[in-house]
């Protein structure tokens, strides 16, 4: 079988989602750390549209967009499935993945903004968590995927495992454990799950880096 390479970035939740999927499926791969913002010529060649990581390269074929990559992995390496077999259940999972993709950027807006923009992003972030808490599938189970991790767990993991550092750096509390007991329990299960626990960015390094970037950004931008 053709070799697999992943172009990623240590700080990126999108990069980590793909790493988790590769490791859960036991797919061997070479990891290439991109020196962002110094994008490599290869990255620009493989992802001319977005010029972003992660990019998976299988043989010579690039695949872009983290959740598109994970569907590709699922179809190419069926072992340790990350999607259910039943079409309706698959649709429910994909619905939630889309929901998370659509709403989770708000968490990053909380991180990088202030004032009214940040307030709006806070409201949207909390609403996202409320919807997941109330309507998310597989209530009472360890993961959204039931006993095992699925693509919804992976998608939300890319948010939940970064929220703590974002909260510290921005001084805003998004994820109130008391308000979201179910998600809180999920978070503990997910973060302690072997593959995930071994593949998370160093918390202190993450916090430092995010704090530095935030300060740089806020001091150089103009505010209304």
């Amino acid at each position: 079988m053709d070799g697999v390479k992943l172009h990623g970035f240590w700080l990126s939740p999108f990069s980590h989602r793909v790493v988790w999927a590769l490791k859960l499926k036991g797919i061997p791969f070479d990891y290439i750390e991109e020196d962002l913002p110094n994008k490599s010529a290869l990255l620009l060649q493989y992802n001319p549209v977005h010029k972003k990581i992660p990019v998976l390269v299988h043989g010579s074929r690039p695949v872009c967009e983290s959740m598109v990559i994970i569907e590709y992995l699922e179809e190419t390496w069926p072992q340790c499935p990350l999607l259910p077999t039943d079409p309706h259940e698959r649709a429910v999972v994909r619905f939630w993945v889309k929901f998370i993709e659509e709403k989770s950027p708000n968490v990053w807006i909380v991180y990088r903004s202030v004032g009214e923009e940040q307030e709006k992003a806070m409201r949207e972030s909390v609403e996202m968590l409320s919807n997941l808490e109330e309507h998310g599938p597989n209530k009472g189970k360890k993961f959204f995927g039931g006993d095992g991790i699925n693509i919804m767990d992976i998608a939300f993991g890319g948010v939940a495992c970064w929220i703590g550092a974002i909260e510290e750096v921005s001084g805003r509390q998004i994820f109130d454990a008391a308000k979201f007991p179910r998600l809180n329990a999920w978070k503990a299960n997910f973060k302690s799950s072997p593959v995930i626990a071994e593949n998370l960015p160093d918390r202190e390094k993450l916090r430092e880096h995010l704090a530095r970037l935030r300060e740089k950004r806020l001091s150089s931008s103009t505010h209304k």
Binding site: V63, E65, V68, E71, Y72, H88, A91, V92, F95
Partner: protein, 225 residues
Amino acid sequence: MADGGEVKLLGFWGSPYALRVIWALKLKQVPYDYLEEDLPNNKSSLLLQYNPVHKKVPVLVHHGKPIAESLVILEYIDETWKQSPLLPQDPSERARARFWAKFADEKCMPAMKAVFCSEGEEQQKAVLEARETLKTLESGLEGKLFFGGETINFADVATGYIGFWARIVEEITGTSLIDAESMPSLDAWSKRFLELPIIKECMPPWDKLIELNSGFLKMYLASLK
């Protein structure tokens, strides 16, 4: 093999997202009952029950089980009714089709909405950005007749609405988004796609679409004052 069991689609005649689900159902010759939602102010209790998170159309209901989000519905339709497959077989090609579907929804449509909802200098800037996204979408065609090559595939069904939506925005705002000179391939594709018999017969009347969206624009501009 066609699956038995009732299929319902909750939609709105003016919604491009509902329309692409209809395209998929028609292409696969899946019989369904269509329920027209009286949007925006009179959503049925069924819609609110079936899509409590977004309260939006389209929602497909199969064997009493609802599915929301049009691209998710397209994947479900393709997996459930195997005739006239939308997604290609090869995983790399499938990833490509999904990539372009996502791109159209996440980049092209919001960029065109920005043109629609702005005026003057801001609109001029928005037009340039929208044209950039459309030029990029064109690159996905790779000079072929359709995203699927000689025939349409998932990406064509998913992105086909961009063609007529651009024309709606152009007509209402007097701007130019897809022009034959700078985007010959995209221009030809959008016309070719909308001329396909199954696609053509599902299109709502043009003047009604213009009237509907002009109305939305008026409401939006009034809400800003």
